[in-house]
Structures are given as C-alpha cells and as structure tokens.
Amino acid sequence: MDIRVQESAFDAGAELNHFAARTSGMGAVVTFNGIVRGDGGLTAMEIEHYPGMTEAALRHIADEATARWSLGGALVIHRYGTLQPGETIMMVATCAPHRTDAFEAAEFLMDYLKSRAPFWKREIGPNGASWVKAKDSDEDALTRW
C-alpha cells in the first residue's frame, strides 16, 4: 500500500507503469485520475488539507479496501496547494487477479476519499474564488458499500 499526500506534481503515467510492474502477475490494474477541469473559466484550483489526518484517513480507507477485496496492492496520491487546469489532482490505482475486484476497490477508494479524506477545494475563476460544495450524491455514494 502506497499513500502519498504532496504539493508537487507527479507523473500519472510513470506511476501507472511503476505500480503495474511492482505487482506483476496480478492480471488487472485499474486507475482513476482526477484532473482540474478548465470549464467555467476556472483559472486555478486551490486544495487545502489537514496534515496528519489526511494521511491517516487515506490509510484507513485503503486498509478497508484491502480487507474487502482480494487486492495485490493499492496506490493513492493526492496533491494539495495551487493547481492549474489540466493538472492531475490525484490518482488511485488498484490491482487484483480479477477485474471486478480491481474496479470495485478503485470505486470504493474514490467514494470514500471524496467524502472522508480531509481535503477542501477552492476554485479561482473570473468572478473570484469560491469553495467547492460537497454534493449530496457523493455522500449517497457511500451507502452502496
């Protein structure tokens, strides 16, 4: 399990290759990559987090995924600080002998990460800055697990 919370950019492609190589023999690798959208005139995204709690929360979520699905490994990288449109915010990767496990575990990680890891996004646009509002659908997504 590999959990990283960092300000610096990372190379999602290199991480995928590294992750897949490290866990070879696993058959199925799924990644999710969150990218700053550029719609609505967004010029930057600021991500605040709660140092200490963030890592603990992500580790807890990843432990839960490892306990529920037969995984060969899990990776979570999440950035904080100021990001430009097109930049990768975060990445989740899972690997498993079977594709359904890899898919479900990645979706589980994303659903919990959205609502249970202490990150807050702030969008900077032509009309100033505003905090991204949590969606009810994100909280609702947790009920399926």
Partner: protein, 84 residues
C-alpha cells in the same frame, strides 16, 4: 480546565480568521465547546451558525458534535470534504 488545540479549515478558517488556536475550556463535549466559542465573538457565532454544514474531528478522527472531549488534545472544525 483543559487546554485544546482547535483547528479550522476552508471557509470555517476564513470566517474565524485564524487556522488554529489554543483554547482553555471546561466543556466536556464538542457541542459544549462550540457553545463557548459562539459566545466569544460574532465571527465564531457566524462560523458555527449552522452545524449541519460542519464536520468535526477529534484527534484527527471524524466524529460528531455529541462526542466527549475527555482525553482529547486536538479538535478540528471544517465543511464537508471535497477531495478527489
């Protein structure tokens, strides 16, 4: 009297105006601590006006406003999380 580190994030931090402070309190629950803070100044009253819009963590674990404060060293208040 207990000494707590109280942390604020996102718009809660902005509304209160500081990211963290040390608070001396005799409150035994998070809710009681919130009442003490609200009584202090308008900016606290404004930040804590709608608790349903807030989340709380004690010692870096999500909890609810009924949670006891005994043994707790750090309390954090913030809006619903929006990572990913």
């Amino acid at each position: 009297m207990t000494k707590l580190d109280v942390l604020y994030f996102a718009w809660v931090r902005e509304r209160i105006g500081i990211p963290r402070e040390q608070v001396k309190t005799e409150a035994t629950t998070v809710a009681a601590l919130v009442e003490e803070l609200k009584a202090r100044e308008d900016r606290y009253a404004a930040a804590f006006a709608d608790l349903s819009a807030l989340r709380v963590a004690t010692d870096q674990t999500l909890t609810d406003f009924d949670a006891p404060l005994s043994g707790v060293r750090e309390v954090a208040f913030f809006p619903p999380m929006t990572g990913g």
